[in-house]
């Protein structure tokens, strides 16, 4: 940076919110990070067993000292059950929101969502087949189940994309219809698998399919987080490409984007993320559609801000939804997928029915 560039007069529109500036990015992400920490602590605090704040603080102090000796019962609940579960919920929500943002930009469709389009069902079918073939329960063979989920998700995604590609961009209603039908077919296969399983295993599978979070062991959580972070960083690196892709494929190419390669990479990443998420939490719907929508309304469409902001908001959303799911009927739990569907479904309908003008 030379001094002449430093003294350069910046046009008025550049600082009035018309384009993304580093300052705005830092402000939004900073405040969302702060909010996330607050929400996170609240979610850890609330639960079926009352844990007072002092116990919570002392449990947290144990975490910070990497010292697990001398824990009492409430501290153990905090550290072994709630903390990993809320962390998992936050990560799953963040991942789902990121998948939603990416799919919406790739399909140039603001209602795209991995659950609605059947990508989650594809992953779920893959994971169910993995379970049927006996690829180990939950985390015994961690990479194997996400891999099955990845394969299933990629299959569903490519199928949907072929449908959406027939005329450059499929009208929203046709895309949704295609998603509904794909969902129905894939669900039929999943039902078939559950029906031929032993009853006690199929009950677990059903609960998982409805979308539920469980407290994972810390090593399992660490692997999942690493996997997620790697995929999310890759997505973030492509955020500026997502912006250009929303102009349409031909315009993107005329701007110098190698669209074929970029699309392959992004579809791969999306399927990997969906596969991993579905393999740990089942089919949690609508997070990927509701969250990017709300965030886009607040911070604009630039994916360099939209993607990380949606990530944080998605994390908060699912952490709160899961807190509701595990406390509302305490000591019993309801699958978190029910909560997100009840919150997101009506919102989806509202967008579809009353905001048509902006969608089509």
């Amino acid at each position: 940076m030379t001094s002449t560039m430093m003294s350069h007069r910046v046009p008025a529109w550049a600082n009035s919110g018309a384009v993304l500036t580093l300052h705005r990015w830092a402000t939004v992400i900073g405040s969302l990070l702060g909010a996330s920490i607050g929400v996170f602590l609240l979610c850890v605090h609330f639960g079926p067993t009352y844990v007072d704040v002092r116990t919570g603080v002392s449990a947290m102090a144990h975490v910070l000292r990497f010292d697990s000796t001398g824990l009492d019962t409430s501290e153990t609940i905090m550290l072994q059950i709630r903390l990993p579960r809320v962390l998992m919920g936050f990560c799953v929500g963040a991942g789902l929101a990121a998948v939603g943002v990416t799919l919406q930009a790739l399909l140039r469709n603001p209602l795209a969502d991995p659950y609605v389009l059947g990508v989650s069902s594809g992953s779920a079918l893959g994971v169910s087949m993995g379970l049927l073939l006996g690829v180990g329960a939950a985390f015994a063979l961690l990479p194997a189940l996400p891999l099955f989920g990845f394969a299933g998700g990629l299959f569903a995604l490519l199928l949907i994309y072929r449908l959406a590609q027939s005329k450059g961009r499929l009208p929203i209603h046709s895309l949704l219809l295609a998603g509904v039908i794909l969902n129905a077919i894939l669900t039929a296969f999943i039902m078939f698998i559950t029906s031929i399983m032993e009853p006690n295993r199929s009950a677990g599978l059903m609960a998982w399919l409805m979308g539920s979070l469980t407290a994972p062991s810390y090593p399992a959580l660490a692997v999942f987080v690493l996997y997620l972070v790697a995929a999310l960083v890759m997505l973030m690196r492509n955020a500026h490409l997502l912006n250009v892709l929303t102009l349409g494929e031909e315009t993107a190419r005329s701007l110098g984007v190698e669209t074929e390669g970029v699309k392959k990479q992004l579809f791969g990443l999306t399927a990997l993320l969906t596969g991993a998420i579905v393999s740990v939490s089942g089919m949690i719907g609508f997070v990927g559609m509701v969250v990017p929508h709300a965030v886009r309304f607040m911070v604009g469409s630039d994916h360099r801000l939209l993607l990380p902001a949606s990530l944080l908001v998605g994390g908060m959303f699912l952490a709160v939804a899961d807190t509701i799911a595990r406390t509302i009927m305490a000591p019993a739990e309801i699958p978190v997928g029910i909560v997100t569907a009840l919150a997101g479904g009506p919102f989806f309908l509202y967008l579809l029915l009353w905001r048509k003008d902006r969608m089509l």
């Binding site: 046009p11 384009v19 603001p110 005329s254 701007l255 469409s301 630039d302 801000l305």
Partner: protein
């Protein structure tokens, strides 16, 4: 190099120094089964001179838009060469092409709420300087901001900078797309039907903008238009396509003639001189007269423009 007169029509023979040089170009689409269809473009040879406005006209389905996409490097030619500034188009990377040539598509359907300034800023994409460590945030340099500012002033969209593109009218949106193309700092501007579906005042805006850009930025412009009058009044040369073949290329006086139009469009029109420029002006005759004169059953000249409008409104 500002080729303002029709005398440059003959310079097509001198291939050196042309911005785009097309030699024996053919193109055809493939069906979904990979079979080959009829030629959409067949054995086209012409060149686009530096600093000229070349209009591409022809009936619906004559391959105008396809030609523009092939010229832009968006569709690969089946046969023949396109040279951009003397170098084969296929030998350049997509980014190199984007730095020399900008495309304004026929329609712009943005579904996401991007602002005008953000959209114009996307034109800086081929010039981006991204680093792995900042994930693309804060990449815009002072030069980028400058270019966007200048582009928005030239296309007269500066006052719209903070508005959402989806809230704009058709004419404003078209100007935003031209501003986005200008932010690319191209040498060549390719426009696909820039005046389609615009009211007459916006048509005038866009046309005078294109003429101004040519003279101020020394841009070479290739524009596809179904409007013969736009081509006649604003283009230095006009290329006429029919069924994928180049029927005629030359000054508007040489191409916009009743006999040529009859050959290309299969119907009779009235051609007189524009009161201001003296260039040819095309008027549609009343349908019965045309039917009688052409001796055909129900070929109403108006039906062409109508069917075009209907096709695009789908």
């Amino acid at each position: 190099m500002n080729a303002g007169t029709t005398a440059t029509a003959a310079s097509c023979l001198i291939s050196q120094g042309s911005a785009l040089q097309i030699e024996d170009l053919s193109f055809r689409y493939r069906t979904s089964e990979g079979q080959e269809r009829m030629w959409t473009l067949e054995n086209l040879s012409f060149c686009v001179n530096f600093g000229e406005i070349l209009g591409i006209v022809g009936p619906n389905g004559s391959g105008k838009s396809t030609l523009l996409k092939v010229l832009a490097g968006l569709l690969p030619p089946a046969r023949g060469d396109i040279r951009l500034g003397g170098l084969l188009l296929g030998k350049r990377t997509q980014t190199e092409i984007a730095r020399l040539m900008a495309v304004v598509p026929q329609e712009y359907a943005q579904v996401f709420p991007f602002t005008v300034a953000e959209t114009v800023m996307m034109g800086r994409f081929p010039h981006r300087t991204s680093h792995w460590w900042n994930l693309g945030i804060g990449d815009e340099t002072a030069e980028d901001l400058d270019c966007v500012q200048v582009a928005m002033v030239e296309a007269d969209v500066l006052s719209l900078a903070t508005r959402l593109v989806s809230d704009l009218s058709g004419g404003e949106r078209q100007r935003v797309m031209i501003a986005r193309a200008l932010a690319q700092e191209p040498k060549i501007l390719l426009l696909d039907e820039p005046t389609a579906f615009l009211d007459v005042n916006h048509q005038l805006d866009i046309c005078s903008l294109i003429a101004r850009l040519r003279s101020e930025r020394r841009l070479t412009v290739v524009l596809v238009s179904h409007d013969l009058n736009v081509a006649s009044q604003y283009c230095d040369r006009v290329a006429m396509l029919k069924e994928g073949k180049l029927c005629r290329i030359g000054s508007p006086a040489d191409t916009i003639r009743p006999d040529v139009l009859r050959l290309v469009y299969d119907c009779d029109v009235i051609v007189d001189a524009h009161p201001q420029t003296g260039r040819p002006r095309v008027t549609m005759p009343i349908s019965q007269t045309a039917t009688l004169a052409a001796g055909r059953r129900s070929m109403y000249p108006t039906s062409r423009s109508e069917s075009k409008a209907m096709r695009h409104s789908e």
